[in-house]
């Protein structure tokens, strides 16, 4: 884990790192005026994208930092890996779609848990998920 000013980076290479990432996300967000419900939503979304890194790419990184934009305060989470990538993002974002016989709710669920969600991937080049949530209903 690396901390540069108020930014946190958690390397994801084991399942303990998934727990560390979501706890760091909660801790950082707690200083930004999020409700306790929001903290749990953020931690849950981080848990899902961090697990995807672990399961599908083996390793990667979750970066969490505060954002200030147009008078709003929030948090941005960037989950990045250099794994196999996703060939059909539209499908991967559908509820219930999983290539490993799991629930297939991680990506679409994380999108619902956060206020903004962006996913980019190129086959063979990994996946980058960027998600934001705004504090105090400022979204």
């Amino acid at each position: 884990m690396t901390v540069a000013s108020d930014e946190v980076r958690v390397r994801i290479a084991s399942d303990d790192d998934i727990v560390t990432a979501r706890q760091e996300g909660r801790r950082l967000s707690a200083g930004l005026g999020f409700s306790s419900t929001d903290l749990t939503l953020i931690a849950t979304a981080i848990s899902e994208v961090a697990r995807n890194i672990r399961v599908f790419a083996g390793e990667g990184q979750v970066q969490i930092r505060p954002v200030h934009e147009r008078g709003r305060e929030g948090i941005v989470v960037v989950a990045r890996d250099k794994g196999p990538g996703i060939a059909d993002i539209e499908r991967a974002m559908q509820d219930g779609y999983s290539t490993r016989g799991s629930f297939g709710l991680g990506l679409p669920g994380a999108r619902r848990l956060m206020d903004e969600f962006d996913i980019r991937s190129r086959p063979g080049k990994g996946v980058t998920v960027t998600m934001k949530k705004w504090a105090l209903g400022g979204g």
């Binding site: 399942d15 303990d16 998934i18 727990v19 979501r22 706890q23 909660r26 306790s36 419900t37 903290l39 749990t40 939503l41 931690a43 849950t44 848990s47 899902e48 697990r51 509820d95 799991s102 629930f103 709710l105 991680g106 679409p108 669920g109 994380a110 619902r112 848990l113």
Partner: protein, 124 residues
């Protein structure tokens, strides 16, 4: 972080104390099913009050415990799901289909007693 499992009469009570990693969740599953089998438990209570997050992996695993235990004659109740955690589960789209839930330990115990101790009406 291992989850302590206590035996109380015919039941097993697993009280999650802190955040669980995926391997902790799988260990809990294996430990519970082992002990429920060797002790011939009739009921299992999983107390998730202290769980920070119920994500799709935890939900899938806990549901798996309930289904497997049920096949071996033990009923599972999950108690103590916190309001924020419940809200996050709904947003994620998770359901605990087939898993009985109760507000707290007392209510969970009452539920299991109702299933395992009440006289049958003979028409089950």
């Amino acid at each position: 972080m291992a989850v302590p499992i206590l035996k109380q009469g015919d039941y097993l009570i697993a009280s999650i104390q802190a955040a669980l990693s995926d391997s902790d969740v799988l260990r809990l599953r294996d430990d519970l099913l082992d002990r429920a089998g060797s002790l011939r438990s009739k009921g299992i209570i999983v107390d998730v009050t202290a769980l920070d997050v119920m994500d799709s992996f935890a939900a899938r695993s806990l549901r798996g415990i309930a289904h497997m235990a049920n096949l071996r004659g033990a009923r599972t109740v999950m108690v103590g799901i916190q309001p924020e955690v419940a809200f996050a589960m709904v947003q994620l789209g998770l359901n605990l289909e087939g898993v009985h839930t109760a507000l707290d330990l007392e209510e969970g115990l009452r539920f299991l007693d109702g299933l395992t101790k009440e006289p049958r009406d003979g028409r089950e």
